[in-house]
Amino acid sequence: MDTAAFSAWIREFARLVGQNKDYLTELDSAIGDADHGANMTRGLNAVVKMLDEEKPDTPSALLKRTGMTLVSTVGGASGPLYGTAFLRMAAAAGDAETLDDGTFAKMLRAGLDGVLARGKAQLGDKTMVDALTPAVDALDATLAAGMPFPDAMQAALRAGEEGRDATVPLVARKGRASYLGERSAGHQDPGATSVTMLLAAAATTLTA
């Protein structure tokens, strides 16, 4: 996986979020404050513009600038959380010009660890962690079992989607949805939903 592949990944993530902007906002209206779609779209548009203008020359530089741009443009809780995830991924990617499958998996785990450290959420709190954790676990497990990367990434995506779907009955314990108490149950978490778009983008762009 080279810088061009990572660029394609982030651009596809931006496309998926932009396409689902209203859907994400609708999910956020039910248990939050109706801005997840708009905020993520604004941030990812800025990221795409940055990629066009700056053309970062290593995966690490690309991820770092993506993280910094998101921190500077998204706001809310998603800005620091996604921003921290990409900054940690950048650190884990090192100086290499191309990354192998194992390094990518380590990188994704570092991103998850960043989200956990910044947001202090645990599995089951009805947050983006609920989709990211099973995906990272699945990627590690399938790669360790010798599965080729494209299949492993598909497995990670499926695990993330199952994690996302499993947020529906949960009562939120973190973020704005937690103010609703029991009334947050019965709704799908918007953050977990945008995480599956990040995974879906990886599954379609990083396997070629």
Binding site: D35, A38, G76, S78, P80, L180
Partner: protein, 333 residues
């Protein structure tokens, strides 16, 4: 959606241009979306900055000026500003005595201010203290929530801590006054209607003519429960009872009562409500020392109100009465 706007995407920047045009005594950094006191940084004075999502006007930008904030960072509607803004504001108000960050307890605000504090301290060595407001009794403060929300007390705190800073008290003391105000204050809010975020184009939730939403915050989010519509005296009970059972307001120097409008409720209804709240406090033997009535921490076009009680002492009352000159609050000058 029927709103007095141009492009929904430009509401915040258009409003900032309006503030700059209406208030030449303030300085607006349009790029970073910061409203500064015209004379910032004030040498030797602790700088006070706050910020948060837009849509709560006059909070925070309307409270920038002598005796209150030195700068306010405007985020998108209902979205925390980003660390770059807060770091720029911190540097812009640092008059050598340090800077106090006033943060409402929301996940995004807390995380962004945290990153900003780290950024500003690393870049310039400016000393930053933080006070987080969390006065909303509608939220259970437990491991199972993000903690109580910062709502009405934030207005009173910005006024009182601002006056303490104006007396040239050091950062640690200004922060201590601010924390005392937060610790002595409680709020509860209620909505008669939802509100419409311009970018969303429709109300955040639906509420029938016969119902109201109790325990709401300031972001159009649904509250704790939905109950049938009731007369003002019963509504006042619903708001004041949980406040009084959460904290002992008796003794001391009485209370500051803040009857806040959520944006679309007319002042006449706020006075009807204020009267009911005053009756309840009278029966409970809690003297009212000062009052503030009006829409000061709003939720766009939401109809409804919130009640904030602050247990006062001599210091709090003296600082409350001190001169203030901002677009939103102005007295003693």
């Amino acid at each position: 959606m029927k709103k007095l706007i141009n492009d929904p995407a430009n509401v915040v920047s258009d409003a900032l241009r309006g503030i700059a045009a209406a208030h030449p005594e303030l300085r607006v950094d349009h790029e970073n979306r910061i409203i500064f006191r015209g004379d910032a940084p004030v040498q030797g004075k602790v700088g006070l900055i706050s910020g948060g999502g837009s849509g709560h006007e006059p909070l925070h930008g309307g409270f920038v000026g002598l005796g209150m904030l030195d700068a306010a960072c405007a985020g998108e509607i209902f979205t925390s500003p980003v660390p770059d803004q807060m770091a720029a504001a911190t540097k812009g108000v640092d008059g050598g005595a340090g800077v106090l960050h006033i943060v409402k307890n929301y996940t995004g605000d807390v995380m962004n201010f945290e990153m900003a504090g780290e950024l500003a301290e690393a870049e310039t060595g400016v000393q930053v203290a933080t006070v987080v407001t969390n006065d909303d009794v509608a939220v259970e403060d437990s491991l199972y929530t993000a903690g109580r929300r910062g709502v009405g007390i934030t207005v009173l705190l910005e006024k009182i801590a601002g006056a303490a800073a104006e007396e040239r008290r050091p950062l640690a003391e200004v922060a201590e006054v601010a924390r005392k105000v937060n610790a002595n204050g409680r709020s509860m809010g209620l909505a008669l209607t939802s509100c419409t975020v311009p970018a969303a184009g429709k109300p955040t939730f639906e509420l029938s003519e016969a119902e109201m939403e109790v325990g709401i915050g300031i972001h159009g989010e649904p509250g704790r429960r939905r109950v049938p519509m009731a007369p003002a005296n019963e509504i006042a009970e619903m708001l004041v009872s949980p406040i009084l059972s959460d904290y002992d307001f008796t003794g001391g120097g009485g209370v500051i009562v803040f009857m806040n409008g959520m944006g679309a409720t007319p002042l006449i209804e706020l006075y009807v409500m204020y009267n009911e709240v005053a009756n309840i406090l009278g029966k409970a033997g809690i003297p009212i020392a000062r009052s503030l009535v009006g829409p000061y921490i709003t939720s766009l076009d939401m109809a409804g109100c919130s009640v904030t009680l602050l247990k006062a002492d001599d210091e709090i009352l003296r600082l409350w009465d001190a001169p203030v000159r901002t677009p939103g609050l102005r007295w003693g000058i």
